[in-house]
């Protein structure tokens, strides 16, 4: 049940993220959509690690059943990368706002190439 709930949440979040990234023109909202997409990926990683009735992967007794530790490590790394990317994106938005006076991508001259 829990797997299904998290799985569906994951898919819904991915949908929202991709839709937003394609449709939104506000730069901050684009960053938020990117964060939602990333959260979906992280949720997916945690879901991969999940095992029913398992404990956190700290060895106490040899008979314990643990969740997979590797995806957790991957998720941790991905969180760090995501945070740096978000910081970089927000910095760029501040700079774009200073130079263009707008944060709407359709108002930027060259956006469509």
């Amino acid at each position: 049940m829990i797997v299904l709930t998290i799985g569906i949440t994951c898919i819904v979040l991915t949908g929202i993220g991709i839709y937003g990234l394609l449709r939104r023109t506000h730069m901050i909202r684009m960053v938020l959509c990117f964060n939602i997409l990333e959260a979906a990926a992280l949720l997916g990683l945690v879901l991969i690690a999940y095992r029913p009735d398992a404990r956190s992967p700290i060895l106490r007794a040899a008979t314990d059943v643990h969740v997979l530790p590797l995806p957790h490590a991957l998720a941790l790394t991905a969180i760090v990368i995501g945070a740096s990317l978000t910081a970089l994106m927000l910095t760029l938005i501040v700079r774009v706002h200073r130079s263009h006076g707008t944060v709407l991508v359709d108002k930027l001259k060259d956006w469509r190439g």
């Binding site: 990234l21 990683l45 991969i48 995806p71 790394t77 970089l88 760029l92 700079r95 190439g113």
Partner: protein
């Protein structure tokens, strides 16, 4: 020496990475010299050249931290890595020399070194998640480099680049998660049997997501437009880095992923061929109608990476080697063309519209000669290296049975002739009178002299270079 050899792959990443804080602190006070950065590259190249012989014998595989690859991270130093890293080191060294300290770009060398460290890691790693980390290190450094021009266009291009690049990065992350879920491993060398044994559509979809992410990073159709937008917003030096270093690194990683999954590569071959063919056609046709120098070069890159991908997707060893060879040659010549663009700025002209570009008075003949040689190489006119690499690509693609692809590569040269000729005529006979207030005159020789000289000299040894690439590909395929 032996213990140094086993630690070599780690050193090749750690040395440039250690250079990052070093350069940050030495250049923080304003002007720094280029020497520390050049020294780092010199150390890396020396290590590389001392270990080519060992890599020829067998790939050097290091288990980072003593954990064997299935549990830990494996780094593989093979001929593919040697060839690609020698090319990227040359380009990074040229970029350091080309960097203009008065441009206001802060921490340029620091970011450059981060890009170098990331791309080295990308070309050495055997572990998929480790590859993701290096993809992001390389990408974050390149996003910041695009913005380092500190003007309107730079920030806008950087934001566009960051959105597209992070989306591609997330696709790769999804793919890695899916592959781990179904195969239980992240090590590329032990992936193939477990991938083939895995049931359902998830493993194939996940691997496809990784490949798609890398193709977006390489700027292949239908995700090609961002490449021109980012390259035209960045400074010439940064554009040279993006089209030389990051492209080579991502292509090497793509080769590693494709060779790690032979069964999938076989079934994906028609898709890859279609993407490559469309990229060749789109790239050349779009380049034809670009009004600006950097956008023209960016679209030409889309087509040239298409050549490489087309040769690789045919699956024959010699064709893959020819594709790799062309990508490496393309990295040198395209970055040299971008470095050459920097000289336009010395006339005081900030625009790179084709009707406005003109070389400065000083060394004008030398500049024009360099342009002609590089353009000949890009188009594929003998006797330069670009001709031989393209010739091998056409020949080997045709031998592998992809006759349409071979014709496409050959025809691409004809279209390229038109747009490079257009730029050439403008450079020889500038239409506009020179500006009255020229920019800072440069007493230095043009930077791409090194790249162009290599393209001329190495043309003599092109059969040996191809043989080297064949050996690299054989090593890559045998390792799996």
């Amino acid at each position: 020496m032996n213990s140094l050899l086993t630690e070599l792959p780690v050193l090749l990443i750690v040395i440039p990475l250690a250079g990052v804080p070093l350069l940050y602190f030495t250049t923080r006070s304003g002007r720094g010299t280029a020497l520390p950065a050049l020294a780092v590259i010199l150390v890396v190249v020396t290590l590389l050249s001392f270990s080519i012989r060992d890599a020829m014998h067998a790939p050097v595989v290091t288990a980072a931290g003593g954990w064997q690859p299935d549990l830990g991270i494996g780094l593989q130093f093979d001929l593919l890595a040697v060839a690609a890293m020698l090319v990227t080191s040359l380009i990074v060294a040229q970029a350091i020399l080309s960097h203009d300290e008065t441009s206001g770009a802060q921490h340029f060398r620091t970011l450059l070194m981060l890009l170098y460290a990331g791309s080295n890691g990308l070309m050495l790693t055997q572990d998929l998640f480790n590859a993701y980390v290096f993809i992001e290190i390389t990408s974050i450094a390149s996003y910041a480099l695009v913005a380092s021009r500190q003007d309107k266009g730079g920030f806008e291009s950087a934001f566009k680049y960051v959105v597209m690049g992070s989306f591609a990065g997330l696709l790769v992350l999804w793919g890695i998660a899916g592959l781990y879920l179904t195969t239980g491993t992240l090590d590329m060398q032990s992936l193939a049997p477990r991938f083939d044994a895995a049931q359902g559509a998830v493993p194939a979809l996940s691997a496809a997501a990784i490949i798609a992410g890398l193709l977006i990073k390489l700027g292949q159709v239908p995700f090609h437009a961002w490449k021109a937008d980012s390259l035209s917003g960045a400074s010439y030096t940064v554009s040279a880095l993006l089209s030389g270093v990051t492209t080579t690194a991502f292509f090497v990683l793509l080769l590693r992923v494709l060779s790690a999954l032979p069964s999938l590569t076989l079934s994906l071959a028609p898709v890859l061929t279609t993407i490559a063919s469309l990229s060749i056609i789109t790239g050349h046709l779009m380049a034809l109608r670009q009004p600006r120098y950097s956008r023209l070069l960016a679209y030409s890159s889309v087509a040239h990476i298409g050549y490489g991908l087309l040769a690789v997707s045919s699956g024959a060893v010699t064709a893959i080697a020819a594709g790799l060879f062309h990508i490496l040659v393309h990295a040198i010549m395209k970055s040299s063309l971008f470095f050459l663009g920097r000289s336009f700025l010395h006339t005081g002209n900030r625009s790179d519209r084709l009707e406005a570009i003109v070389f400065p008075e000083q060394y004008r003949k030398l500049h024009v000669t360099l342009y002609v040689l590089l353009a000949m190489s890009m188009i594929g006119i003998p006797p330069v290296l670009g001709f031989t690499s393209k010739w091998y690509a056409v020949l080997e693609t045709a031998r592998a049975g992809y006759h349409t692809g071979a014709v496409l590569i050959a025809l691409g040269g004809a279209v390229a002739l038109v747009y490079y000729l257009r730029v050439g005529i403008q450079l020889v006979h500038p239409g506009l009178p020179e500006l009255s207030s020229p920019g800072p005159a440069s007493r230095r020789l043009p930077v791409p002299l090194a790249g162009t000289a290599l393209i001329l000299l190495l043309a003599v040894f092109s059969d040996r270079l191809l043989a080297f690439c064949v050996q690299a590909v054989v090593q890559l395929l045998e390792a799996v």
